[in-house]
Each structure stands twice: as C-alpha cells, then as structure tokens.
C-alpha cells in the first residue's frame, strides 16, 4: 500500500479497498520500524492521526468525504500545529507546543487529511543538507551515508522512503525543490503569495513559500488544491482565484515553448547531470514542445543577492526568540542581557547564528546601502530577466541542483560551498516565481531532478508539464533498495 500515490490511495479509500485507519496504521508502523534509519520525523502524532483517520472513515461512510479525506501525510516542523510540538528543528523551540494552527495545517485538517507527524528539517530552514537540525541529520533513503538535501529534507526523505505519500514543505531558496531532487521525489514551490504563510515560522518573509512534496505531479496538484488560496491573515497572500490544479494535468504539450537558460548549462555543470537533462528535454520534444536557448544574464548574482536578503530578514525574524514568552531560557540568567545572549547563544545552532550575524551586519549602519539596498536593486534585475524571458517561452528548464546527493559532513565546514547547492533554485525565490523539481534520471544510483520554472501563478501549467513527463517516464516510480 505504501508505494501507492495519493491519487491511488484516494481511489482505494473511495472504493472501500481499505480504510483510512488501516492506511494510517500501516504508515505509522513503517515509520516506527524504518525511520530510525532516516530520522525524517521529529515528532510523531499517532493518536491524533488515528482519531483523524477514524473521522475520515466515518465521513467516507456517510458519503461526504473529499478527495483528501483519510489520506495520511506529514507536515514539515516549520508549520505551527495547535497542541503539538513545533520546533523548527531548533533547540530554542524544543519545548514549544504551538497554541494555534498554521493556515496550511488548518486547510489539511478541513480536507480530512491525517497528519502522521512533523518532519525533520534544517534548523529554521537554514541549510541545504538537513544537517543543521537540532534533532540530528536526516539520511537520504537512496544512500544513508548521504544527505537528503534541505531544508525540507525530512519531508523529501519521508516521501522517498514511502513513510508518507506526501508532505508539506517550504522553500526560501530551494528548500522544497533541492531535497525533492536529491531524494528522487516531486516537489513544487508555488508563486510567492499563492499559499498563506500564516503559522509558517518565518525564515525570510519575502522569499518563504510553502508547497507540496509527493511522488508525482498529480499528487502535488491534489495537495496544492488543499493548500493554495488567499488568507486574510497574511498581508502578502494574493487574492486571486484558485484553479483546480488536477484539471489540466493531461493537457497536450503540443507547442509548449521551453526555454533553456544558457547560464544554467555551462561547463561547470556535471556532465552526467547534463545528460539526464538533455534526455528529459528530448522527451518533451517528443511530446510536442519546442526548445529555445534563452538568457538570464543576472542569474550568477542570485546567490550573492540571496545571502544578503535572506540573512537580513532572518536576523530580524528570529529576534522574537528572546526567552521571555516561550521557548528555551538559559539557566540562572544574571541579568537581562545575559538572559538574551545566553538563551540565544545556547538555543540557536551554528548556521542560524552565522546567518543572523551576516544579516545584522548587512543591515547595520554604514553597510545598509552597500549590502541590503544593493541586493534589493539587483533583485529587481533578476526578476526582470525572467519577465523578459516569459515573453518568449512558457516554462524554463534546467537542473534543480548542481550535483546529486553528497556525503554527510562533506560541506558542513564550508558554508559557501553549501550555499552554492541552491545556485539554480534561488533566483525563482528572488523573483517570486513558481518552480518544480521532477525526477529525471540517476547518476550512480543517485536521483537527478529536472527544474521547471513557470510564470507567475502558472502552477497549473507546471503541474501539467511535469505530469505529462511522468506519464512517459518512470523515474518518479523508482524506489530506493528495500523500500
């Protein structure tokens, strides 16, 4: 059962082949036996899950269940879950029981979904390998000596190991797409403002966006149907009608205009990954798409720009963790200053501190113009590159990640090398565009992801493009040995 997609499980539940309770029990059992190996969950919520499953079974029986009713899934531990520990994988929130639900969580509850637990992640979503978690690293189901990517490494690994058919995730610079690529699953970062950020613990507010990770584009569509929509509680959410993302999945790709940015296909790209991408592009041509080379001239600036804007916003966003109203407080503070400094010094991990320091520095007097303001101006140039490109093409394709998964510890000593892991994904966050990672092959038995970037609010097309590809390929159906 665990290898089935959300779409298949939904049909199975409707057909009465199994109950949600049975499904839930099955996934809970898998997690309890297998997750020791992967560490993809921080918190499990079996009691709440079984209660939700029972409710879903009742509504199925009563004939008023929606497509998602009774489907087990997991939430990244960045989403506040009322009454359930919500840690953002940080020691500073190790004792934090969220007093309210994130809008995303609430929407899945309303849809009747069954939350199995909270998935592991990089601390405060800062990382590309899931090694900065206070709860220990997540291991990649394809090679447990390797990282799952990050920051949504727990969500991606859980789906890859079939511990959950789908999981929520968030993406600030690639945190949905890069782990999806490294774990061989499908992930979608929607347009900025498409999904509410209410209750999603902020890393960099102008870049953060929630989205789904699942086996297939079809499942991502089902999850996005639940997640997307305007929220009065989020000033940055966009009041715009939400289409049925499942509806256009099978549209023909005849005439689809694909742009390949020459900046993404340089000599620096691993030739084995380049081969996988070329093969994928050929599949698209067979499906009727046309391919043109385009240029995103400022894309080499996206990492530098990102590493000013994201740390600047995070340095301010994380000031609220001050040991006064919730969270970790150091022992025996001598005075207020000591309370702040030691609680935060002991509560935050090294990468979080690094970014807070960078951001504080970039915003401080004398540096603001050279860093923050400069970055904001370049951000506009990066966005304009995309706007111009979408005059000529419908989607842009490239690699999700410059490499396949890498060994645990390989990049932890050099933050800059870690930052470059997001070199292909960051520009879409800066521009606020939607992007997807779709499994498109393997190098040395390690998954490769195809990155598909869409125009604003063009998620339906992205899902269509990914789904049609998944109809003619089986990369997304491959599972790690023993799964």
């Amino acid at each position: 059962m665990h290898n089935k997609t959300i779409a298949e499980l939904s049909q199975g539940l409707s057909a009465g082949e199994y109950s949600s309770t049975e499904l839930t029990q099955d996934f809970l059992r898998r997690i309890s036996t297998l997750d020791k190996k992967y560490n993809s969950f921080i918190t499990l919520t079996p009691e709440q899950a079984l209660a939700a499953a029972e409710l879903a079974d009742q509504s199925r029986a009563a004939g008023n269940a929606g497509a998602f009713a009774g489907i087990p899934m997991a939430h990244k531990d960045i989403f506040c879950t009322n009454g359930i520990k919500t840690t953002c994988a940080s020691k500073i929130l190790d004792n934090f029981i969220a007093p309210y639900d994130a809008t995303v969580v609430e929407k899945f509850k309303l849809a009747g979904a069954v939350c199995l637990g909270k998935t592991n992640m990089d601390e405060f979503a800062m990382g590309s390998s899931n090694e900065t978690s206070f709860y220990g690293p997540v291991r990649n189901p394809w090679d447990t000596d390797c990282v799952p990517g990050g920051s949504s490494g727990g969500s991606a690994a859980a789906v890859a190991a079939r511990l959950a058919p789908g999981a929520t995730a968030t993406d600030t610079g690639g945190s949905i797409r890069q782990p999806a690529a490294l774990c061989g699953v499908t992930g979608l970062k929607p347009t900025y403002g498409r999904v509410s950020r209410w209750g999603m613990i902020a890393f960099a507010s102008s870049l953060d966006q929630a989205g789904p990770i699942a086996q297939t584009a079809e499942d991502c569509a089902m999850m996005l149907n639940v997640m997307a929509g305007f929220d009065v509680k989020d000033s940055t959410s966009i009041d715009r009608a939400v289409p049925d993302y499942s509806q256009d999945l099978n549209n023909s790709l005849e005439g689809l205009r694909i742009g390949l940015p020459k900046e993404f296909f340089t000599d620096g790209l691993d030739p084995a990954i380049a081969q996988c991408l070329q093969a994928a592009v050929r599949e698209y041509e067979k499906l009727g798409a046309t391919v043109t080379e385009i240029s995103l001239p400022h894309s080499d600036l996206s990492v530098p720009v990102y590493y000013v804007i994201a740390p600047a916003e995070c340095s301010s966003n994380l000031s609220r963790f001050d040991a006064v109203r919730y969270g970790y407080r150091c022992d025996d503070p001598q005075d207020l200053e000591d309370l702040y400094k030691r609680s935060r010094g002991e509560g935050f991990g090294r990468e979080v501190k690094r970014r807070i320091l960078v951001g504080t520095y970039a915003l401080s007097e004398g540096y603001f113009d050279a860093y923050y303001l400069k970055a904001q101006k370049l951000r506009r140039l990066i966005k304009e590159d995309f706007v111009k490109a979408y005059d000529e093409v419908d989607v842009i394709m490239g690699p999700t990640s410059p490499s396949t998964t890498f060994k645990l510890g390989e990049k932890t000593t050099d933050p800059v090398s870690m930052y470059l892991a997001d070199i292909f994904t960051i520009s879409t966050n800066l521009a606020g565009l939607p992007g997807m990672s779709v499994p498109c092959g393997f190098v040395d038995n390690k998954p490769v992801g195809l990155h598909v970037i869409g125009n604003y609010f063009d998620e339906a097309r992205l899902l269509n493009v990914a789904h049609r590809y998944q109809q003619v390929t089986d990369w997304h159906q491959q599972t790690p040995e023993g799964i």
């Binding site: 506040c80 919500t86 007093p99 309210y100 209410w198 940055t236 301010s316 109203r325 603001f368």
Partner: protein, 481 residues
Amino acid sequence: MQWETVIGLEIHVQLATQSKIFSGSSTAFGAEPNTQASVIDLGFPGVLPVLNEEAVRMAVKFGLAIDANIDEKSVFARKNYFYPDLPKGYQISQFELPIVGKGYIEITLEDGSTRVIGVTRAHLEEDAGKSLHEDFHGMTGIDLNRTGTPLLEIVSEPDLRSAKEAIAYLKQIHSLIRYLGISDGNMAEGSMRCDANVSMRPKGQKEFGTRAEIKNVNSFRFVEKAINFEVERQIDLLEAGGKVVQETRLYDSTKDETRSMRSKEEANDYRYFPDPDLLPVVLDPAYIQSVRDSLPELPHQKRHRFVEQFNLSAYDADLLSTERETAEYFETVATAAGDAKLAANWVNGELAGALNRDNLELAQSPVSAEQLVQLLKRIQDDTISGKIAKTVFEAMWNGEGDADQIIETKGLKQVSDSGAIEALVDEVITNSPSQVENYRNADDAKRPKMLGYFVGQVMKASKGQANPKQVNQILLRKLNS
C-alpha cells in the same frame, strides 16, 4: 551671552481604534495584564500583521488637518532592538516613507499672537508593552496589553523657542486630535506622550547647538517644567565653558530635574528595513478626498471665525476653540443670547472656573448651555445685575433649579423702582455727611472714583438687588445738586 532656546517635540498619540494596529485584540485601557495580547501581539512564531484601516484613516485625517502632504505610497519598516516589552525584537514603524509628510500647526500665545510651527512628519507605528518594576523577587514583570496599540508619532521641526511655545504647540495638537476624534489625548493614561529635544544657541547664530532628548514626560505641566529645567541646565553648562552631550535624559517629576539615562554607549543601531510582512500602503486620491470631506471645522478655523464673526479677542477665541465641546457650548450661548462678548466672559469665566474647581469635564457640567442662556437673558433684561447673576449661577451649579426659579425663590430680582432706590440713596447720603462733604469739595476729575463708595453703600443696603445703573444716576443727581 544671550541664549536662544530651540525645541522640537516628538509626540506619540495613541489612536482611538477599537482593535490594535496589526491584530484584532482590544485596545481598551486598564484590563488585567496580558489579557489583551493575542498571538500576534505576543510575537509568536509564524504570526503575521494585517493593517487596521481605521488607524490609516485617522492618520490621514490628522495629516489633512495640518495641511500636510499625504503621499500616495507609504511603507512600514522594522526598527530592530531588544527590550522585554517589545515582543518581536522589532517595532513595526515607518521610516523612509511616512504616511503624513510635511505640514504645519498654528499656535496662539498668551498675548494673543500666533506662530506657525512646522511638522516634519507623522508616522504610524505600534506601541510597546509595559515593564512593571515592582519587586517580583528581583524580577521585572511584563504586561503586553498595550503592545500593538496604534500610535501616530508627530515630529515637529525645531521651531519652538520656549517652554511656553512648546506647551502651546502640545495643547494645539491635543486640541486637534480631540477635534478629529482620533485620540482621547489622555496624558495620564499615556494616550499622549511627549519627548522634547532641547538645545541652546547664542542669539543670532544659525547653527543648532547639541541637543538633549527628554523622554516620556506625561503631563503639560511636567513638559513645561522639564524643558525649563533643561534650558537652565544647558545654559549653566555652556556658560561654565562646558559642552552639552547628545543624550537621552529622563525627567524626574518628584525632584523636578532631568538626568542622563544610563545608556551603554552603544549608539542605537536600529537597522531599519522595509517590513517584508507588510506591503506598501497605497492611498488613492478619491480616498483622501473622502477623508477630507469628513473633517470637522478645526480649532484654528473656529478661532479665526470666532474673531471675525463674534468680534472676540484672539485670546478669548483661542480659549473657546481649544476644546470642541467648549466651542459648541459657547456658540449655542452666544447665538441664543445674541451677545458674544457676554457669552465669552461667562464661558471663559464663571463656567470654566467652576469646572476647574470641581475638576469636571464640560460634558459633566451641571449648567447646560440653554440654562446659561436663560441666566444671561435675565442680565440683559435688567432682571438681575451681573453680580447677582454670579450668585444665581452658583445656585444653578448646585442644582437648585434654573435661573428664573432661583431668582424668584430667593427674591433676587433687581430693584428698579426709582422711588425705593431714591429712599436708599437718601438714607446713605444722610448717614455719610463727611463723605458727602469731601465729594462736593473735590474737583470733577476725582469725583467718579469717590462715587464708588456711595454706590457700594446703596448696593449693600439693597442686598445687591438695586439696579446699579439707576443707583448711579440718582446718586449723581442728588450729590451734584
């Protein structure tokens, strides 16, 4: 050396919205600690702000009332600093693009002269909570009810030249915000708080001196005292060859002095940047026009009208227009009585005095405008004298009835019967032979002054009820014959 005082005020006004600027929590004053603090106010992880439309409207009202630029676009920024009463570790405020740009306010001084004071800007921000320093086993208690209450920070140009001008400006702002209904301006409850930047410069010098900022002074009287103290301190310092240090000082009302706040010399670096959780506020011209159309007649407009229409002195007009209720009360009385000067004297005199004595607001006055009109009519038709009217007013104030009832039951009706007055005059003349002789021997220039004695005696004999005009006439006739 002759010194010139230079003062600029930063006034924080709590806006009278029902809910907070970025959350749906109540802004009511005086609730149990932390009972009006939601997840947003408490800065819980994952929460987001959404802007209150009424706070925006109130800020725009204020801007239009001071003829300020209201730019189409304004932006919220984060001011980053750590303090236990600031839950998020930053205050949402406005920095580069405030909602209200440059405007001005006209103030009236005691001598009736007016001055125009520039307002640099006014911006919206959220209030912080309160730290309670009573002893909790050596700890400080934090109440976050006030967190997120909308504030309008009004920053003046350094145009004020004395504590008196600063107070006039402060009172003018107070008057304006109450007219506009955007704040109760209650300084004791902290709805209006004032920081004063004070510096000195040699008279005639253009450059400003180094300023000290006096924080959070919470009454008109203390603002005046704090500034006066600070001016003295700085002059003493400068004349002794010292230098004023740029610093924040606290006013201690019990000692009547300002003193340096113990600040670690870290020069606050607030790291302002646009709040990514909030989008630019864009106000279209139609909206601004609709707010403009909703503005009431403003204090300075009323002041000018009162001078023109009622022929009042600038000083009287200023007093009468400061509070909207007073102005309305006055206009009712002036119009019904048909004598604005008389109405002004009574409203600024007896009425204001009685309110002040009993510590009442005009709305609580036991004597309504209509009742005062009746009293004034009795003065005008000579039923009673102005002096008796004060007695009647006191009785009205004490709830003994309206003017006519009191005049009737107390028998205060003025005696205008010339026969009765003549009898009294004769009696006084008979009983004061020496005064009469003196009077008759005095030259014309001195006589009017001496007449006062006889008038007083006659009025006394009549228990104040004789018509003073008639008393005068009869006395003159008899004494001069």
